[in-house]
Protein backbone atom coordinates (compact mmCIF):
# COMPACT_ATOMS: atom_id res chain seq x y z
CA UNK A 1 0.00 0.00 0.00
CA UNK A 2 2.78 2.43 0.94
CA UNK A 3 6.37 1.97 -0.11
CA UNK A 4 9.40 2.39 2.08
CA UNK A 5 10.13 5.93 0.93
CA UNK A 6 6.53 7.03 1.49
CA UNK A 7 6.66 5.64 5.02
CA UNK A 8 9.90 7.52 5.65
CA UNK A 9 8.28 10.72 4.41
CA UNK A 10 5.25 10.15 6.66
CA UNK A 11 7.61 9.75 9.61
CA UNK A 12 9.08 13.17 8.83
CA UNK A 13 5.77 14.92 8.22
CA UNK A 14 4.13 13.64 11.38
CA UNK A 15 6.45 15.80 13.45
CA UNK A 16 6.97 19.45 12.53
CA UNK A 17 7.76 21.03 9.18
CA UNK A 18 11.04 22.88 9.81
CA UNK A 19 10.77 26.66 10.23
CA UNK A 20 13.52 27.46 7.74
CA UNK A 21 13.20 29.16 4.34
CA UNK A 22 13.51 25.86 2.42
CA UNK A 23 11.98 23.20 4.66
CA UNK A 24 11.51 20.59 1.92
CA UNK A 25 15.15 20.79 0.91
CA UNK A 26 16.11 20.05 4.52
CA UNK A 27 13.84 16.99 4.76
CA UNK A 28 14.86 15.76 1.29
CA UNK A 29 18.55 15.93 2.18
CA UNK A 30 17.87 13.87 5.28
CA UNK A 31 16.13 11.22 3.16
CA UNK A 32 18.69 11.33 0.37
CA UNK A 33 16.25 12.42 -2.35
CA UNK A 34 15.82 15.64 -4.31
CA UNK A 35 13.62 18.45 -3.08
CA UNK A 36 11.45 18.14 -6.20
CA UNK A 37 10.99 14.40 -5.69
CA UNK A 38 9.88 14.99 -2.11
CA UNK A 39 7.41 17.71 -3.11
CA UNK A 40 6.00 15.49 -5.88
CA UNK A 41 5.44 12.60 -3.45
CA UNK A 42 3.82 14.89 -0.86
CA UNK A 43 1.50 16.33 -3.52
CA UNK A 44 0.57 12.81 -4.64
CA UNK A 45 -0.16 11.74 -1.07
CA UNK A 46 -2.42 14.79 -0.66
CA UNK A 47 -4.23 13.91 -3.92
CA UNK A 48 -4.66 10.28 -2.83
CA UNK A 49 -6.09 11.46 0.49
CA UNK A 50 -3.36 9.74 2.49
CA UNK A 51 -2.55 13.18 3.81
CA UNK A 52 -5.98 14.39 4.92
CA UNK A 53 -4.81 17.85 5.79
CA UNK A 54 -1.43 19.46 5.40
CA UNK A 55 -0.70 22.41 7.63
CA UNK A 56 -1.16 23.78 11.13
CA UNK A 57 -3.16 21.81 13.68
CA UNK A 58 -4.63 24.43 16.02
CA UNK A 59 -5.50 24.27 19.66
CA UNK A 60 -9.03 25.54 19.34
CA UNK A 61 -9.60 26.44 22.99
CA UNK A 62 -7.46 29.46 22.22
CA UNK A 63 -9.65 30.55 19.37
CA UNK A 64 -12.91 30.94 21.21
CA UNK A 65 -14.32 27.42 20.84
CA UNK A 66 -14.26 26.77 24.55
CA UNK A 67 -16.91 24.10 24.87
CA UNK A 68 -17.71 20.95 23.02
CA UNK A 69 -20.00 18.08 23.76
CA UNK A 70 -20.05 14.58 22.48
CA UNK A 71 -23.71 14.08 21.65
CA UNK A 72 -24.87 10.51 21.22
CA UNK A 73 -28.14 9.86 19.42
CA UNK A 74 -30.47 6.87 19.42
CA UNK A 75 -31.31 6.64 15.73
CA UNK A 76 -33.21 3.69 14.28
CA UNK A 77 -31.13 1.70 11.78
CA UNK A 78 -33.30 2.67 8.81
CA UNK A 79 -32.89 6.40 9.44
CA UNK A 80 -29.16 6.54 10.18
CA UNK A 81 -28.06 7.51 6.70
CA UNK A 82 -30.57 10.32 6.30
CA UNK A 83 -30.13 11.68 9.82
CA UNK A 84 -26.32 11.39 9.70
CA UNK A 85 -26.19 13.49 6.57
CA UNK A 86 -28.54 16.07 8.02
CA UNK A 87 -26.52 16.38 11.24
CA UNK A 88 -23.30 16.74 9.26
CA UNK A 89 -24.69 19.88 7.63
CA UNK A 90 -24.66 21.85 10.87
CA UNK A 91 -21.57 24.02 11.05
CA UNK A 92 -21.34 23.51 14.83
CA UNK A 93 -21.03 19.77 14.22
CA UNK A 94 -17.39 18.93 13.50
CA UNK A 95 -17.60 15.15 13.67
CA UNK A 96 -20.44 12.79 12.85
CA UNK A 97 -20.00 9.02 12.95
CA UNK A 98 -22.16 5.94 12.91
CA UNK A 99 -21.15 3.40 15.58
CA UNK A 100 -22.71 0.09 16.66
CA UNK A 101 -25.23 -0.11 19.50
CA UNK A 102 -24.37 -2.48 22.36
CA UNK A 103 -26.41 -4.13 25.12
CA UNK A 104 -27.46 -1.27 27.40
CA UNK A 105 -26.01 1.23 24.91
CA UNK A 106 -28.64 2.20 22.31
CA UNK A 107 -26.77 5.07 20.64
CA UNK A 108 -25.85 4.75 16.98
CA UNK A 109 -24.86 8.25 15.86
CA UNK A 110 -22.07 10.22 17.52
CA UNK A 111 -21.55 13.93 16.93
CA UNK A 112 -19.20 16.50 18.39
CA UNK A 113 -21.00 19.81 18.85
CA UNK A 114 -19.03 22.99 19.49
CA UNK A 115 -20.15 26.19 21.18
CA UNK A 116 -18.94 29.08 23.26
CA UNK A 117 -20.16 27.38 26.43
CA UNK A 118 -22.01 24.30 27.63
CA UNK A 119 -25.42 25.92 27.40
CA UNK A 120 -24.83 26.82 23.80
CA UNK A 121 -23.95 23.16 23.11
CA UNK A 122 -27.20 22.09 24.79
CA UNK A 123 -29.22 24.60 22.79
CA UNK A 124 -27.58 23.50 19.57
CA UNK A 125 -28.32 19.84 20.34
CA UNK A 126 -31.96 20.81 20.86
CA UNK A 127 -32.03 22.52 17.48
CA UNK A 128 -30.49 19.45 15.83
CA UNK A 129 -33.03 17.22 17.61
CA UNK A 130 -35.85 19.40 16.29
CA UNK A 131 -34.48 19.37 12.76
CA UNK A 132 -33.97 15.60 12.64
CA UNK A 133 -36.81 14.35 14.83
CA UNK A 134 -34.34 12.41 16.99
CA UNK A 135 -35.26 13.21 20.58
CA UNK A 136 -33.47 10.40 22.39
CA UNK A 137 -29.98 11.71 22.97
CA UNK A 138 -27.40 12.50 25.62
CA UNK A 139 -24.77 15.21 25.87
CA UNK A 140 -21.56 13.88 27.33
CA UNK A 141 -19.11 16.60 28.32
CA UNK A 142 -15.47 15.98 28.92
CA UNK A 143 -14.26 16.98 32.36
CA UNK A 144 -10.55 16.33 31.96
CA UNK A 145 -8.10 15.70 29.15
CA UNK A 146 -5.93 12.79 30.26
CA UNK A 147 -4.03 12.30 27.05
CA UNK A 148 -3.89 14.09 23.74
CA UNK A 149 -1.12 13.35 21.30
CA UNK A 150 -0.59 13.05 17.59
CA UNK A 151 -0.52 9.54 16.22
CA UNK A 152 2.93 8.35 15.25
CA UNK A 153 2.79 5.94 12.33
CA UNK A 154 5.38 3.41 11.20
CA UNK A 155 7.57 3.89 14.23
CA UNK A 156 8.65 0.27 14.52
Amino acid sequence: MLNKLEKQIIRELQTDIPLVPEPYRLIAEKLGISEQELMDIITKMIDRGIIRRFGAALRHQDLGFVANAMVVWEVPEAKISEVGQKMAEFKEVTHCYQRPSRPGWPYTLFTVVHGLNKDECREKAQVIAGATGIHKYELIFSTKELKKSSMKYFID
Binding site: I10, R53, L63, Q85, H95, K148, M151
Partner: protein, 150 residues
Amino acid sequence: MQLDRIDKQILELIQTNFPVVSKPYKLIAEKVGLEEAEVINRIKKMRQAGIIRRLGGLFDSRKMGYVGTLCAMKVPPQDIEKVAGIIAEYPGITHNYLRDHEYNMWFTLLAESEQKIELILNDILSRTGITQILNLPSQKVFKVRVKFDL
Protein backbone atom coordinates in the same frame (compact mmCIF):
# COMPACT_ATOMS: atom_id res chain seq x y z
CA MET B 1 -0.82 35.33 23.44
CA GLN B 2 -3.04 37.77 21.53
CA LEU B 3 -3.38 37.12 17.82
CA ASP B 4 -3.55 40.11 15.52
CA ARG B 5 -5.18 40.29 12.12
CA ILE B 6 -2.02 39.21 10.31
CA ASP B 7 -1.49 36.18 12.61
CA LYS B 8 -5.03 35.08 11.80
CA GLN B 9 -4.42 35.60 8.09
CA ILE B 10 -1.32 33.43 8.32
CA LEU B 11 -3.20 30.72 10.22
CA GLU B 12 -5.95 30.79 7.64
CA LEU B 13 -3.35 30.27 4.91
CA ILE B 14 -1.47 27.43 6.60
CA GLN B 15 -4.34 25.58 8.27
CA THR B 16 -5.21 23.19 5.50
CA ASN B 17 -3.04 23.88 2.50
CA PHE B 18 0.48 24.60 3.62
CA PRO B 19 2.23 25.40 0.33
CA VAL B 20 4.21 22.56 -1.22
CA VAL B 21 6.72 24.82 -2.96
CA SER B 22 10.42 25.33 -2.50
CA LYS B 23 9.97 28.47 -0.37
CA PRO B 24 6.59 28.16 1.35
CA TYR B 25 7.14 30.91 3.93
CA LYS B 26 8.14 33.35 1.20
CA LEU B 27 4.90 32.58 -0.66
CA ILE B 28 2.86 33.20 2.50
CA ALA B 29 4.85 36.38 3.14
CA GLU B 30 3.95 37.71 -0.29
CA LYS B 31 0.27 37.01 0.35
CA VAL B 32 0.14 38.84 3.68
CA GLY B 33 2.60 41.58 2.76
CA LEU B 34 5.42 40.74 5.15
CA GLU B 35 9.05 39.66 4.92
CA GLU B 36 9.72 35.91 4.86
CA ALA B 37 11.68 36.08 8.14
CA GLU B 38 8.80 37.85 9.86
CA VAL B 39 6.37 35.11 8.78
CA ILE B 40 8.70 32.41 10.09
CA ASN B 41 9.03 34.34 13.31
CA ARG B 42 5.27 34.72 13.78
CA ILE B 43 4.65 31.02 13.10
CA LYS B 44 7.44 30.15 15.54
CA LYS B 45 5.80 32.28 18.25
CA MET B 46 2.37 30.71 17.68
CA ARG B 47 3.98 27.27 17.74
CA GLN B 48 5.78 28.05 21.00
CA ALA B 49 2.61 29.49 22.55
CA GLY B 50 0.84 26.25 21.63
CA ILE B 51 -1.75 27.94 19.43
CA ILE B 52 -0.32 25.80 16.66
CA ARG B 53 -0.15 22.32 18.15
CA ARG B 54 1.82 20.99 15.23
CA LEU B 55 2.74 22.06 11.73
CA GLY B 56 2.72 19.00 9.53
CA GLY B 57 0.56 16.34 7.96
CA LEU B 58 -2.63 14.86 9.30
CA PHE B 59 -2.99 11.41 7.84
CA ASP B 60 -5.91 9.21 6.93
CA SER B 61 -5.13 6.23 9.11
CA ARG B 62 -7.51 3.94 7.17
CA LYS B 63 -5.84 4.66 3.87
CA MET B 64 -2.55 3.65 5.45
CA GLY B 65 -4.02 0.36 6.60
CA TYR B 66 -4.65 1.28 10.22
CA VAL B 67 -7.92 0.53 11.98
CA GLY B 68 -9.35 2.58 14.79
CA THR B 69 -11.99 2.52 17.45
CA LEU B 70 -13.53 4.57 20.24
CA CYS B 71 -13.79 2.90 23.63
CA ALA B 72 -15.63 3.81 26.79
CA MET B 73 -14.99 2.28 30.20
CA LYS B 74 -16.62 2.43 33.62
CA VAL B 75 -13.72 3.21 35.93
CA PRO B 76 -14.26 3.43 39.71
CA PRO B 77 -13.29 6.97 40.88
CA GLN B 78 -10.49 5.72 43.10
CA ASP B 79 -8.86 3.90 40.17
CA ILE B 80 -8.92 6.74 37.65
CA GLU B 81 -5.34 7.84 38.12
CA LYS B 82 -3.95 4.32 37.93
CA VAL B 83 -6.00 3.42 34.85
CA ALA B 84 -5.15 6.70 33.10
CA GLY B 85 -1.47 5.95 33.66
CA ILE B 86 -1.77 2.50 32.08
CA ILE B 87 -3.78 3.88 29.14
CA ALA B 88 -1.16 6.57 28.50
CA GLU B 89 1.47 3.90 27.82
CA TYR B 90 -0.09 2.75 24.54
CA PRO B 91 1.16 4.84 21.61
CA GLY B 92 -1.94 3.97 19.54
CA ILE B 93 -4.13 5.64 22.15
CA THR B 94 -3.92 9.29 21.14
CA HIS B 95 -6.87 10.75 23.05
CA ASN B 96 -8.18 9.91 26.48
CA TYR B 97 -10.82 11.96 28.29
CA LEU B 98 -12.76 11.81 31.51
CA ARG B 99 -16.42 12.49 30.85
CA ASP B 100 -19.44 13.16 33.05
CA HIS B 101 -21.18 9.86 32.40
CA GLU B 102 -21.33 6.42 34.00
CA TYR B 103 -18.95 5.45 31.21
CA ASN B 104 -16.45 7.96 32.49
CA MET B 105 -13.28 7.25 30.55
CA TRP B 106 -13.24 7.55 26.75
CA PHE B 107 -10.27 6.86 24.54
CA THR B 108 -9.45 6.42 20.87
CA LEU B 109 -7.23 3.60 19.69
CA LEU B 110 -5.42 3.10 16.38
CA ALA B 111 -3.57 -0.06 15.41
CA GLU B 112 -2.35 -1.94 12.35
CA SER B 113 -5.13 -4.55 12.46
CA GLU B 114 -8.35 -5.66 14.16
CA GLN B 115 -6.39 -8.42 15.89
CA LYS B 116 -3.97 -5.88 17.31
CA ILE B 117 -6.93 -3.83 18.62
CA GLU B 118 -8.34 -6.92 20.35
CA LEU B 119 -4.94 -7.73 21.86
CA ILE B 120 -4.48 -4.21 23.21
CA LEU B 121 -8.01 -4.05 24.66
CA ASN B 122 -7.60 -7.43 26.34
CA ASP B 123 -4.26 -6.30 27.70
CA ILE B 124 -5.84 -3.13 29.11
CA LEU B 125 -8.68 -5.07 30.74
CA SER B 126 -6.36 -7.57 32.37
CA ARG B 127 -3.94 -4.91 33.60
CA THR B 128 -6.61 -2.54 34.96
CA GLY B 129 -9.18 -5.03 36.20
CA ILE B 130 -11.88 -3.06 34.41
CA THR B 131 -14.79 -5.24 33.35
CA GLN B 132 -17.14 -2.85 31.62
CA ILE B 133 -16.00 -1.53 28.30
CA LEU B 134 -17.73 -0.48 25.10
CA ASN B 135 -15.78 -1.00 21.89
CA LEU B 136 -17.40 1.30 19.33
CA PRO B 137 -15.58 1.27 15.98
CA SER B 138 -16.99 3.73 13.49
CA GLN B 139 -19.07 2.13 10.76
CA LYS B 140 -19.60 5.22 8.70
CA VAL B 141 -18.11 8.70 8.72
CA PHE B 142 -20.57 11.46 7.85
CA LYS B 143 -18.27 14.32 8.73
CA VAL B 144 -14.82 15.08 10.06
CA ARG B 145 -13.93 18.71 9.98
CA VAL B 146 -10.52 19.77 11.09
CA LYS B 147 -10.56 23.34 9.85
CA PHE B 148 -11.92 26.16 11.93
CA ASP B 149 -13.04 29.56 10.71
CA LEU B 150 -10.91 32.25 12.28
